[in-house]
């Protein structure tokens, strides 16, 4: 009987907390499908009394190119991920398995740079891109993230555990280092690569600071910047439309998270970065 009460109490606490965690999502969605007159009543019940339909969503889509923002986000995230992986895999393999002069100082450099966030290098990088006339481009949005210290660090750890005997045997069989890397070593680190991919895409899909600095045209804005531009344009208290916009912006990540819960939790928490 004692056990029963403790279970009930723990569920009660967890459900109470869960209600708070979900509250902003619930209000966002129900406000988006509520008539403006009902929004102004400021009731404590989130759900609408009368069906208002998707008029707020139509309003958003008319005034802001949400589809284009998503496309921009997709292009930028994919571009970043591809270059990150193509740079990190050879570097991690070299650091793990091919001792060369300077490999230790390179690794030290990578460890130090691991804790230097984009907000630090943003100023000089912005000046450089501005001088070169490359602001307002996909390239400007992607370039600071081409080198992922974390990917190199993570893959190096994984590659190190790959047995040296297999690599030696492959060399004797006449496989080149390039083939050994791609056909033997990389496939063994597939789970780490998948977790890293989730981490990278989530981080850059949600990033606002850097795009806000280098992008000034609506046509190139990724979703967070698009949301900001839209919110600034809706200067009044048109909360129905704002919540519809917020719903559209958050939806892709929420849906992806619900479908790949394990990979998301693993990918984001293994890094220790938010």
């Amino acid at each position: 009987m004692k056990l029963k009460t403790s279970v009930v109490v723990s569920h009660a606490v967890l459900l109470g907390g869960a209600a708070i965690m979900l509250m902003p999502f619930v209000w966002m969605f129900f406000t988006a499908i509520k008539a403006p007159s009902e929004i102004f009543e400021a009731s404590i019940w989130p759900w609408p009394r009368t069906w208002y339909g998707f008029a707020h969503f139509q309003e958003v889509l008319k005034s802001a190119p949400m589809g284009l923002f998503m496309w921009n986000g997709l292009v930028v995230c994919t571009g970043i991920l591809i270059v990150q992986v193509l740079v990190a895999i050879p570097a991690a393999y070299a650091l793990a398995k091919l001792p060369f002069k300077g490999s230790e100082s390179l690794f030290m450099g990578i460890l130090v740079a691991l804790s230097v966030p984009i907000q630090v290098t943003a100023l000089p990088l912005y000046m450089g891109l501005s001088l070169a006339g490359w602001l307002n481009s996909y390239f400007a949005q992607m370039v600071p993230f081409f080198l992922s210290m974390f990917a190199i660090f993570l893959l190096r750890q994984h590659f190190k555990t790959f047995p040296d005997e297999i690599i030696h045997a492959a060399r004797i069989d006449g496989m080149t280092e390039w083939e050994i890397m791609w056909r033997l070593v990389v496939p063994s680190a597939r789970p780490a690569l998948a977790a890293f991919a989730v981490f990278s895409v989530v981080a850059h899909w949600n990033d606002l600071y850097w795009p806000m600095i280098v992008i000034t045209t609506t046509e190139l804005a990724p979703p967070p910047l698009g949301m900001l531009l839209f919110a600034n344009a809706e200067s009044g208290a048109n909360y129905g439309a704002l919540m519809a916009g917020a719903t559209l912006i958050t939806m892709p990540m929420v849906i992806a998270f619900l479908f790949a819960r394990k990979q998301f939790i693993q990918g984001i928490t293994m890094t220790g970065f938010r």
Partner: protein, 296 residues
């Protein structure tokens, strides 16, 4: 034979260098060079587009300590941390302890508590702005329903930082919870069994004597990531206040100086102070490494 082996090693070293070269090149142009530029800029009065440049020495840094906005942003960050660090540790630990005991409902709770971590902060900050609205927001409506007065969470300077901190907490609890769950699953069951033999029965005793000390490295890790995320607060300030009601935070002050006023020299100095803060927070983690904890 010997020379053959040397040849092979020599060849592999060259291949290694070649494979690492792109990363080395990017490290140089994306980190080393920018950091050097930052250091030089911080010693000058350079403004974007200016044709002249004056060497200031450490004047920018001295100025920072007398800059009311920057000092306020540091104070705000401290207040923010004083809420977010204890809250982020205790609430996440509580949730993790409760979820850890659940079997069938575990993934259900994990999904809900982790949802804010993945969602786009600027969009959710807009939602929070609506929820905290003095007239239309749910939170003030709920406070009124229980007989409490209306609070200007966003425009009242004494409420704005606690409000931002609560939003920060809302977003980070799920992350910390997962870290604590991983920590909990690594505590060997035998320790609890041994303690049982020694007469430790009550739940809170087990917690004080076993769980909490065993989780020390986890807690250090949580404190470090929470500190760093506190220094990096930006999106919520931008969406909710734009620095109004004396709500500037460090990153927002840097953003204004660098990218709104284009005072590159001064912004570079502030950025270096910001970097020093991040490094100071990260060094807490070195304590953890000494204790040989293993977290990825």
């Amino acid at each position: 034979m010997k020379s053959n082996q040397n040849d092979a090693e020599f060849r592999l070293a060259w291949i290694g260098m070649g494979l690492a070269a792109p990363a080395g090149f990017l490290l140089a142009i994306l980190y080393v060079l920018p950091l050097l530029c930052l250091l030089l800029l911080s010693l000058t009065d350079y403004e974007l587009g200016a044709t002249t440049l004056r060497w200031l020495g450490t004047e920018n840094f001295q100025r920072a300590w007398q800059d009311p906005v920057f000092i306020r942003s540091l104070k705000n960050t401290l207040v923010y941390m004083s809420i977010v660090i204890p809250g982020g540790v205790l609430l996440s630990l509580l949730v993790a302890l409760l979820i850890h005991q659940r079997v069938r409902s575990r993934s259900f709770y994990e999904v809900i508590y982790f949802l804010p971590v993945t969602s786009t902060m600027i969009a959710m900050a807009t939602v929070w702005q609506f929820l905290l609205h003095p007239k239309l927001g749910f939170i003030n409506a709920a406070l009124k329903a229980v007989g409490l007065g209306e609070t200007a969470f966003i425009t009242d300077p004494s409420w704005v930082i606690p409000s931002l901190a609560l939003i920060g907490l809302w977003q980070m609890i799920g992350f910390n919870m997962i870290i604590y769950l991983a920590g909990l699953s690594q505590i060997p069951q035998e320790i609890y069994e041994a303690a049982e033999v020694d007469g430790v029965h009550a739940g809170w005793e087990r917690f004080i004597h076993i769980t909490w000390p065993m989780l020390t490295p986890t807690t250090l890790f949580v404190v470090v990531t929470t500190c760093i995320s506190a220094f990096k607060v930006f999106d919520t300030v931008l969406a909710l206040t734009q620095g109004k009601s004396q709500s500037e935070v460090v990153l927002y002050a840097i953003y204004l100086e660098g990218f709104q006023y284009f005072k590159m020299g001064y912004a570079a100095a502030l950025t270096l102070i910001f970097l020093a803060l991040i490094f100071a927070a990260s060094s807490i983690q070195l304590l953890k490494m000494d204790k040989k904890a293993h977290y990825a």
